[in-house]
């Protein structure tokens, strides 16, 4: 498993493949304020990114790759800015 699904945060390491999409989705949907740590992520499959985007999962740490950062920065900023009124995210 390249995604460790913790109590509060999901930790992505290495190359995360589409095989993990279902378990990630279940996890994300089971959490009200899911967070993800991609600090050690080398690549994530498009399907996984979509899950993060669609559920506005806060990204606590960005992956090192600049293009991956491009996709994940909006979610990272969700986390960085605690003033975001989360009640609108319903």
């Amino acid at each position: 498993m390249t995604i460790k699904l913790g109590k509060k945060a999901a930790r992505f390491t290495g190359v995360c493949t589409i095989e993990e999409a279902e378990s990630l989705l279940d996890w994300v949907q089971a959490h009200s304020q899911p967070r993800a740590d991609l600090g050690d992520c080398e690549h994530l499959h498009t399907a996984l990114l979509q899950i993060l985007m669609a559920h506005r999962v806060s990204v606590t740490r960005l992956p090192p790759d600049p293009w991956l950062q491009h996709w994940l920065r909006p979610l990272h900023e969700l986390d960085a800015d605690s003033t975001t009124p989360s009640e609108l995210d319903a």
Binding site: I18, E19, Q29, T46, L49, A54, H55, W71, D81, T83
Partner: protein, 865 residues
């Protein structure tokens, strides 16, 4: 090795195996479309996977050509034929060899270039002949591939996100001349084809700028389908257009490419960042010139997904928007950026709620530009568009907009007013911007909200079938583990067994030395518990290492097919008991011997159809492979109904080769005689054929089997056929040895060699010539003393009754006696082969660590004598 590459290799091999099996099935059942579909899907997966490694050009070329042909086959454009299967098999072989090389050196050299080129041409020719008798010329193809490149900027160029336009202008101003623009919208079901758009985009050559937008709103809750792509990527690259074409060649129907028009530079600067006035060369949608009235229509259409807003919600949203305006201009430079981020987040949420999904990208860009330039102008525009959109939604939903309660603190009013004044001053620009935002939605197919669970489930099933990996909810979960990890576990268990075996010693010492009998008893009781657990542990780990023998049988249908075709024979292969399991090492060591045996059966055993019919047998010969478990051994029988082995021929051959002398020959029964085929250097083939008969066949088979402590036997009836019986241990991890003592040292002798242990009086030992012998159970057994064999200059000890301890071992069917000083108990040990400088010592099979920490040398009796 790179994880991706490793995965690719594993999956590649799986695909290959499956394809080979399918191809054989199709030959039997060419009309079955499911088989063809599956074959095609595998090839497609392989191709998709290989696309991740652009270096593997030859590989990709072959799988691509293969896929094209299979596609045509599937579509019924061309019929299936044996010739076609031959080419396909050849392709699979080549792919397999390429995979081997990739596995070894992690890349693909030029070795296969010529071969793959030839195969690709062969495949393409087959295809061309079938699809177009007139044959498509290479030029036509090349022309079709190149496509229009110098054409003016296409329509879709205008729909690019403004951040890309801005970036393009910047790049061109900086002197970058050849910039390519690509618009990549992956098909919604692309994940099922093994595609990963993110990876493809990341690896775009010369990628300089990128914008990602969503195609539609994300369905919420259970309707969210993780296997549906909902993204659109637009990007700038300074690579050649041809290079980009090459990069996106597998998704060329989903990608639009063009060289960026130069005049964008001229058109860009004057306009505001978010409202780029269209460059003359870029034809914008016709709605551009329409009036504001039509704009609302577009908005309505683009926001079509929204279910009505309640009055309360509407009022609330208006209020939120007002506050955001205020936030944009408030604060100093230190807090501004955080505020803007917050505004963007709110705007995004709002946009989603009112269905203005196309704004999502715009908001991100606006924020980027705001943070970059320190100017929130773009963000303001976004807010304004949202406000307009909100009104439009309310109008359509026939909700009367209610007056917005002015909740904004009075202090903020002037600022907002000023802000709005500047915004609305450029009303025309805003109006122009609106259809732009709406355009992408209109041109893209409106994807219906996923019709609840059903579709998603069926897609999941499809995905499951595709890679045959059972997922969490159903069936057993499979874990792929590197073999080294299991080996390490095995070693650890071995060490634990050794450590556990130290307990009885400890108990004995407690009893004898300290006189603590009770403690000794407790220790023994404890030992029993640990013993049970460690045995179970050992057993479970061995289970993990177990593989079904079917894993080696898989390649046989193919082998039989190829060889019998080559020899002009008709052979039917029957395999039973594939599920019988044995240790991985044993299974793997089986592959080569079994292939030899099969080849022998095909070459020498099964006769040609004419000869078979003349002998009153069916024209089609049968080879039967049957595997089963018998107590702690795995038995494999290979039976053919061919010619059988003629003992007379074997005798003559063996004599001619000097393998046996005349007297032995006379004593041999027919069944004994045919065992001579296992002797080294025996081959009956009249001519050395390509298949077998190089004089290594059965000898190699026997040694291969014996290496894993197996045995092989042969039965044959002339004219009726031959049966080979292989017996193998289930596992070779644990070896039983008998401990013997000689010259005050302990040695181990593998139990499978030991026939019996006897005490022989020194007076019943006779010396015949120089060889000492004894008569045991009516037969003369030659005796060897272990000390002499090992070169220890000490005589063997006698016991009090003046008897010698003789261990009778079976070596190559003969009994020999080995004289030692004394026998000890039998032990279960983990045999470790000798390493380093010691590995040259043929007299030892290996070493084992005993419970008291001493090293036991295990003898290789066969080599010693």
């Amino acid at each position: 090795m790179n994880i991706l590459l490793e995965q690719f290799l594993i999956e590649g091999r799986e695909c290959l195996e499956a394809m080979s099996a399918r191809l054989l099935e199709i030959e039997r059942d060419p009309a079955n479309p499911e088989l063809l579909d599956d074959l095609f899907r595998r090839m497609h997966t392989l191709k998709g996977n290989s696309g991740l490694f652009p270096d593997l050009k030859d590989f990709i070329a072959v799988v691509h050509a293969g896929e094209d042909m299979l596609d045509a086959l599937r579509a019924g454009v061309m019929p299936f034929s044996a010739g076609l299967a031959d080419v396909m098999f050849e392709a699979l072989d080549l792919i397999s060899r390429m995979l081997d090389q990739i596995g070894e050196v992690e890349t693909l050299g030029d070795d296969f270039h010529a071969e793959s080129g030839r195969l690709v041409v062969a495949l393409r020719e087959l295809l061309a002949r079938a699809t177009n008798p007139a044959e498509t010329s290479a030029e036509d193809l090349a022309a079709a591939m190149a496509g229009p490149s110098a054409a003016p900027a296409p329509d879709w160029f205008g729909t690019l996100p403004s951040s890309l336009h801005t970036r393009l202008a910047e790049l061109q101003q900086a002197g970058a001349s050849a910039i390519c623009v690509a618009d990549y919208t992956p098909e919604p079901n692309c994940f099922f084809k093994g595609e990963d758009p993110l990876l493809l985009v990341r690896q775009t050559p010369g990628l300089v700028a990128l914008a990602t937008t969503t195609l539609g709103p994300w369905p919420a809750g259970m309707d969210f389908d993780p296997y549906r792509s909902n993204l659109r990527f637009t990007l700038l690259s300074n690579a050649d257009e041809s290079e980009l074409k090459e990069h996106f060649r597998y998704v060329d129907d989903q990608v639009q490419l063009c060289a960026a028009p130069q005049d964008v530079v001229a058109a860009q600067p004057g306009a505001g960042p978010a409202t780029p006035a269209p460059a003359p060369a870029v034809p914008l949608p016709a709605t551009q010139a329409d009036t504001a009235g039509t704009d609302t229509d577009h908005l309505l259409r683009s926001y079509a997904r929204v279910e009505g807003l309640s009055e309360e919600e509407h009022a609330f949203f208006e209020q939120i928007l007002e506050v955001q305006y205020g936030l944009l201009v408030a604060g100093d430079s230190a807090t501004r950026q955080g505020r803007w981020r917050s505004v963007a987040a709110v705007a995004e949420s709002l946009a989603r709620r009112i269905g203005a999904v196309t704004e999502s990208g715009a908001i991100t860009r606006a924020l980027e530009s705001a943070l970059l330039n320190g100017d929130a102008g773009e963000l303001g525009e976004v807010l304004q568009r949202l406000e307009l959109g909100l009104t439009a939604v309310v109008a359509r939903g026939s909700i009367e907009p209610i007056p917005v309660p002015d909740a904004t603190p009075p202090a903020m009013q002037p600022a907002i007013a000023a802000r709005r004044a500047t915004e609305s001053a450029d009303a025309a620009a805003t109006a122009l911007a609106l259809p732009k935002a709406a355009a992408p939605v209109r041109t893209l197919p409106v994807d219906e909200p996923a019709p609840a669970g059903a579709v998603r489930d069926s897609l999941r099933d499809a995905l499951r079938n595709e890679d045959e990996t059972p997922t969490a909810e159903s069936g057993p979960r499979i874990l792929r583990v590197r073999q080294e990890k299991i080996d390490r576990l095995m070693d650890l268990v071995g060490e634990m067994v050794v450590a556990k075996n130290a307990l009885p010693y400890l108990a004995a010492r407690a009893d004898e030395i300290s006189g603590a009998r009770e403690l000794a008893r407790d220790l023994k009781a404890n030992y029993q518990v640990i013993n049970r657990i460690s045995e179970e542990l050992q057993d479970s780990i061995m289970q993990v290492r177990m593989l079904p023998v079917g894993s080696v049988f898989q390649r046989f249908p193919r082998l039989v097919r190829d060889v019998s075709r080559k020899l002009g024979k008709q052979v039917h292969l029957e395999i039973t008991g594939e599920e019988t399991e044995a240790d991985k090492n044993i299974i793997e060591s089986l592959a080569d011997p079994l292939i030899h045996i099969l080849r022998n059966s095909l070459d020498h055993g099964i006769e040609s159809p004419e000869r078979r019919q003349a002998a009153g047998k069916p024209a089609q010969g049968t080879i039967r492979i049957h595997a089963y478990q018998e107590s702690d051994r795995v038995m494999i029988e290979i039976h053919d109904d061919g010619n059988g082995i003629d003992p007379a021929v074997i005798r003559a051959k063996a004599y001619e080769r000097g393998l046996v002398d005349e007297t032995r020959l006379g004593q041999m029964s027919d069944q004994e005689a045919i065992q001579l085929v296992f002797a080294a250097g025996f081959s009956t083939a009249e001519t050395i054929s390509e298949l077998s008969g190089r004089g290594v066949g059965m000898d190699v088979v026997r040694r291969g089997i014996e290496r894993v402590h197996g045995t092989i036997g042969l039965e044959s009836v002339v004219g009726r056929g031959t049966t080979l019986r292989i017996a193998l241990p289930l596992s070779m991890a644990v070896t039983a040895v008998m401990r013997v003592r000689s010259a005050e040292q302990a040695f181990g002798v593998p139990m499978d060699l030991v026939v019996e242990t006897v005490r022989v009086s020194r007076y019943s030992i006779h010396t015949i010539k120089t060889q000492r012998t004894a008569v045991l159970r009516g037969r003369i057994v030659p005796l060897f003393t272990l000390n002499e064999l090992l070169g220890i200059p000490v005589a063997q000890q006698l016991n009090d009754e003046e008897e010698l301890a003789v261990l009778v071992a079976r070596i190559g069917g003969e009994h020999v006696g080995i004289v030692v000083d004394d026998f000890d108990e039998t032990l279960e040990i983990i045999l470790k082969p000798l390493e380093g400088v010691l590995s040259g010592l043929a007299g030892y099979a290996g070493t084992a660590l005993l419970g008291n920490g001493t090293v036991l040398m295990v003898l290789n009796v066969k080599e010693l004598i």
